[in-house]
Symmetry: C2
C-alpha cells in the first residue's frame, strides 16, 4: 500500500469554526474519492509542545491511486477554499507501507 501523511498548523487568526470546517470537510472526502482505502484525521492531543495542530494519514492501494486523490478536483477545491485561507505551515511525506 501507499501512504500519504500531512500535518498542518493554522494562522493565529483561524477561528474554531474554520478549524472545525477542516475536520468535517475532510471526513467527506472518502465518499467523493473512492481510491481512499483508509483515512484517519485529527487534531493534535496537546501532550507535547511544538507539535503541528492537525494530521491526516491516508492509505491507498498504490502510488497511482494517491495521485488520483492528490489531484482530484473535490480535494483541490477543499484545499483552496477551506485549508489555504487558514494555513500557516504544512509538513508531508508519502511512503510505501
Amino acid at each position: 500500500m501507499f501512504r500519504h501523511v500531512v500535518m498542518f498548523t493554522w494562522v493565529a487568526g483561524a477561528t474554531e469554526e474554520q478549524k472545525a470546517e477542516v475536520e468535517t470537510g475532510l471526513k467527506k472526502l472518502p465518499d467523493a474519492i473512492p481510491e481512499i482505502r483508509r483515512y484517519e484525521i485529527g487534531q493534535d492531543a496537546g501532550i507535547n509542545p511544538g507539535n503541528y495542530e492537525f494530521a491526516v494519514v491516508a492509505d491507498f492501494d498504490s502510488e497511482e491511486d494517491y495521485l488520483v486523490y492528490r489531484d482530484h478536483p473535490v480535494h483541490r477545491a477543499f484545499i483552496a477554499d477551506v485549508i489555504r485561507p487558514i494555513l500557516a505551515g504544512r509538513a508531508a511525506v508519502q511512503y510505501s507501507i
Copy 2:
C-alpha cells in the same frame, strides 16, 4: 486507539549509512516496546517537492501506552544516538483515532 505521527528531515551531511541506520533501528522498536500496536515507517517517495524525508506512524491502545513508548529508555537512547546526530527538522502530531 491513539496515534503518534512524526516526520524528520536530515542535515545535509547525513550519510546514506546513517539514514539506513534510522530505518533498521526503528524497525526493532516494536520488539523492545510491546505497547506498540502498529508501526509503519518509511522514506519519502520523492513525488512532491518540499516534503520531509522520513515518516513514522505508530498506533497504541491508549494515550498512556503512547507515553510509555515516548519515554521508554530504548526509544530515548535510539533518538539520542541515531536520530539526533543527523536531525535537521521534526514535525509531530498525536491524535485519537
